[in-house]
Amino acid sequence: MEKKILTKYIDDPAQIDIDTFMAHGGYKAWEKVLKSMKPEQVIDEVKKSGVRGRGGAGFPAGMKWSFVPKDNPKPKYLVCNADESEPGTCKDRVLMERDPHSIVEGMAIAAFAIQSHLAFIYIRGEFAYPAQMMEKAVREAYAKKILGKNIFGSGYNLDMIVHTGGGAYICGEETSLLNSLEGERGMSRIRPPFPAVEGLYGCPTVVNNVETLACVPHVINNGAEWYSSMGTEKSKGSKLFSLSGHIKKPGNYELELGTPLSVLINDLGGGMLDGHNLKAIIPGGSSTPFLKPEQINVKLDYESLAEAGSMLGSGAVIVISDRTCMVWVIERLIHFYKHESCGKCTPCREGTGWLEQVISRIEHGQGMPGDLEKIESLCENILGRTVCPLGDAAVMPIQSSLKLFRDEWAYHIEHHRCMVKTEFAFN
């Protein structure tokens, strides 16, 4: 049921060492690229493979690379986005902790494709151990002259810096990440200019998610056709899913895109915890709209989930049981988004704060008639009106919750308490 491509060796504790990694075929793709490929060929291959951004937006990776202007005399930068902070998501962390060299290799190839000689991996600050693993991998790669000057005798130079953040969800948004990497406050930038034209230090920059980059060596080694043979028509290859919530066997699972959600939840995840019945599923990280139990057979791919009214997002599947108050869930989330709003644009800065106040009052039994309509109206005034996607991320689950679980919200306002009392004591 699992399609172990990126996770093939993650259960081998020695995979973190460069020798084991290479014995498993690691850095072959990097060598192949440097010895026999032109940057455009690499971009073409990745374009053909159909690899899409695994951070949440799903933008085709090869296409993103091709936006870097070739005639721009400025240096180019590749940045690997390892600021994994979307609630529910912990897939990149696994790759960093257990197969860090695969990320180094992916970054190296991507850097070459855009002719960058300096690549960064921006890891969220709380990930001290994953950062250590990445640092070790980079160090080992330098020692083997897989990074540095004249790599594999090709004349190509590439340096790599492991950079850690300081605790800010917003830095997972690429322009905020670039500001943060420049030492600024992690506030989002307006686009245009897009990072591909004017990114880090004002230079052309590509920002890719960890998992996206980890796919790249496999595409180079096995060819675009092999990769695109997996998945659906528009969602190619495999993807990591972080399964959490009221589930028997939570964990990270790698599935071919297009696999039904039920396979993940029931077959791999072992179904709901005893005594819990499925009530809602967040399929792509906390920013994505909910699915109802009857949608459990939806296919896990970009298009199918969009059709089902949600998003594939980061692939963080959060399973919620019938012993959970949906207002309480939203209160948690809006508190989070308000806490993480950078403060740059008005609708997000003020809107998330206001929403938190109204939602919190409802959850605490002090909701007032008209509050739901107010929330809906505030959501409309935020959605699509902000500098970066954080505003959308904050309101999409709220809108979805109000649509799918309106009875619970109404009950809260009418009876000043939860319809379903959230009760979960840890063991």
Binding site: G88, T89, L118, R332
Partner: protein, 158 residues
Amino acid sequence: MILNEKSIAEIKGKLALYPSPKSVVLPALTIAYRQVRYLSPEIYQEIAQVTGLSEVDVAGAASFYTMFPKEPVGKYLIQVCHNISCALLGADSLIGYLEQKLEIKKGQTTPDGLFTLISVECLGSCTTAPMMQINEDFYENLTHEKVDRILEELRGKS
């Protein structure tokens, strides 16, 4: 100087890596945090001095990022994730249990200065919820027994 020679050398080492000196703000704050365990205006001043950056750049950035405590904390900073995946699996009762065990409220430090308890947003450990981070280490799939054992071990170490 509050920063020791090792920290200063590390910060200077970072300066050499980046195309722009300002990029060392977060690395420098991290280095200072690891040494001092919390950040303060004095630290910002020292970092500004060591890096040649302006104080407003250092202090302004530091205030934006929530990971670094801005006030003294206990020897062990316990950060319990209270975001959705952990909350679904009892983060609130975990916090309650810790409050009871440590005899403090969330946000407080034990009188012996050993533990500070706070709750934080998602730490990227959702499939192993509930969890907490103590200083830089993650403790996952927490149960009462596990928490007891962890606290005991930490108490024993000091």
